[in-house]
Amino acid sequence: MSVKEILQTKVMLYIMGKGLEELSKVDEELQEEIEDFDAILQWKVGENLKMYLEISDGKITAHLDEEHDEPTVTFVVDDYAKAREILSGEVDGTSAYMSGDLKMEGDMQAGMRMGQLGELLQEALTDLLS
């Protein structure tokens, strides 16, 4: 895997993780969404890239380059390019799941919530992604 591929994918994980962390401090819609939702949402890309979101007490904390022992749900994407498409919202999570590019391990219900968080982040990131 090239350094460029790794770096770009890490940056996308950063933007999703830190983006949701930041948004959970200021965005009421997101705060409502996670009000009664405590979970560890873990992402793994390829062999080495990992990140997890810790959601508790109405806050989101992103743990970059860290792995959790007991995640509520883990999203696994083997291919770096596919991962970037999913993380940027270019490909939506449901279709990626259907095609097998995105795998989910653990609590499916919690996994579905990730989709909603992703949508809220997308809205907030319009000026970045457009």
Binding site: L7, L128, L129
Partner: protein, 133 residues
């Protein structure tokens, strides 16, 4: 409602520093080029942030978001959120923006120019990502 422009600037500012830190670990060539550099770069976006600073030391790069350093070697002031957004998305001619006063650099200009490679190397890796393509 979230100020989406400011939010985007903050995310990019953090992401670029994170990427620089990662590149210093992943790329031996880049790491070598950092040898001997001991510098603190303060980033400011007018009128009210986001602000952050970057520490380059011992061939490592570390970014600190939402922070103002007491004694930076350089301060790079981006005179509006739009200027910051264009800069971070590689949609700005940096030299021109400096001449026009859209970007202000305080500190040792010679040193600043010598260390410009950090941004140039990063742009090579991230250019097509942050430009939204």
């Amino acid at each position: 409602m979230v100020d989406t422009k400011k939010f985007a600037v903050k995310m990019l500012m953090g992401a670029i520093q994170y990427a620089a830190a990662q590149l210093a670990e992943l790329d031996e060539g880049f790491k070598k080029k950092l040898t001997g550099i001991d510098t603190v770069i303060q980033w400011k976006v007018e009128p009210d942030g986001p602000n952050s600073y970057t520490v380059v030391k011992d061939s490592k790069i570390k970014g600190k978001m939402d922070a103002v350093h007491e004694n930076p070697n350089f301060t790079i002031t981006l005179t509006s959120v739009d200027v910051a957004l264009d800069l971070f998305r590689a949609k700005l001619e940096v030299q021109k923006a400096i001449e026009e006063g859209k970007i202000k650099i305080d500190g040792d200009m010679q040193k600043a120019m010598n260390q410009m490679f950090i941004l140039e190397d990063l742009a090579e890796y991230l250019g097509d990502l942050t430009s939204g393509g």
